[in-house]
Symmetry: C2
Subunit: 256 residues, 2 copies
């Protein structure tokens, strides 16, 4: 089992070598800028770790892992647009529409989504692409609720906007590993805990959401409980999952 | 063989019944508005006609056909945005960003693309989804060149922006019909003539492009020659293609 930081190096190397479609022409420049923006590569690392724990070769899971990262990048590029969150900076750099103009940001986001699908479709089994597409639909539904200020059910909003893509990191890895659907349940139960864990820690780091509602102390306790639940789910999985436990601990303790 | 207007009725009925993902919530409203906008349904009708000529059941080709229409709709919704073509009206109605706001137009476009992929992925064979995804990448590349004013190679620009999706209408139908790749060549040679034909007639209707360069009379001659080339390609296909000949004639003679 490779530790998370080694998996992350594999992700970075694959991203560096990634060939975007020739036909995209100059649009590849804002796309590369967006993908090279750093970030923690949480989603692809999670996908690779699940794939290895489930018995796949890590290398076989790389296209699926990177497809998840491209979907995440697509969502950031569009969410940062003036008509949505109107963010000028991300990770200390100008956002895509600031650096390349709004039209290029819209088209680069579209093309990142299409490239993600192309990677997911590089597998013989279309299940990876189906898992990814369903997650994208859920994620967009969450973002649409957020934009509309439709916060009546905040748990649903976060489950869609954040949780669906985390869950797909696990789901895609299971398909790559060839785990039949009836045996996927304990893995997917684990996957469902990751979105809430990520979201509570996000609120703690931003000082909003659950922190505003319940205070910082309670928020920290809720994060620790979410991590505990995820670890409890991990123990139900009949596989070697200590790298995944390390990832859960990292999600709970992250400071950015 | 069903005539084109009967195929179009099948398309309209399928579009009416189309179930968008529940998780999209209220975003389904601008999506439906965009899809219901009418239009001639040229792409899905072409797909169905090729599928039937190639030996498939028309009903089996409907998901592929509608996926092409959803991709076309996604591209219109994003191209109409203020940062791109900034169009306030389409087919006599306010465009999506005018009717529902810019954020909803961006997200509805994204979701239409994802729904298109979901339909394309409803087939066991992932070839339909691969054909569609590759066409989307080419189409976005064409639009990016257009937005950038990169008109140095106008033929390439149109081949990408318009031609790739027309070609995919034929390609997707061939996969649905189970035509093996080595036997697809004559069909694809026919497909490659449709984008230029559509584009020249578009220029004639809008009074721009080839009309500005060569004048109206030459443009009409070029359109007729493009139609002739398409019909000549059709005669090379070992199948009953009179419905496709009717569609070519319709493309050449269309007035809107």
């Amino acid at each position: 089992m490779r530790p998370a930081d080694e998996l992350r190096e594999l992700v970075e190397a694959y991203v560096d070598e990634l060939e975007l479609a020739d036909e995209l022409g100059a649009l590849r420049q804002p796309m590369r800028y967006a993908v090279d923006g750093g970030g923690k590569r949480l989603r692809p690392v999670l996908c690779l770790a699940v794939a290895e724990a489930a018995g796949a070769d890590v290398e076989d899971a790389l296209p699926a892992a990177i497809s998840l990262e491209l979907v995440h990048t697509f969502s950031l590029v569009h969410d940062d647009l003036p008509a949505l969150d109107d963010d000028d900076e991300r990770r200390g750099r100008p956002t895509i529409h600031v650096a390349f103009g709004e039209a290029n940001a819209i088209l680069a986001g579209d093309a990142l989504l299409a490239e993600a699908l192309r990677l997911a479709l590089s597998y013989d089994d279309a299940a990876v692409a189906r898992e990814l597409t369903d997650a994208v639909l859920g994620m967009i539904g969450g973002q649409a609720r957020d934009v509309a200020g439709d916060n009546g059910d905040l748990t649903l909003l976060h489950r869609l906007k954040t949780g669906r893509l985390f869950a797909a990191c696990v789901g895609c890895a299971l398909w790559v590993a060839g785990i039949p659907e009836p045996e996927q349940a304990p893995w997917r139960a684990f996957a469902d805990e990751l979105g809430p864990l990520f979201q509570i820690v996000d609120d703690i780091l931003d000082g909003d959401g659950v922190v505003l509602v319940h205070g910082a102390e309670t928020a920290r306790r809720l994060a620790d409980e979410a991590a505990e639940r995820a670890l409890a789910r991990l123990r139900q999985i009949p596989a070697e999952t200590y790298v995944l436990a390390e990832i859960v601990a990292g999600l709970a303790a992250r400071t950015s």
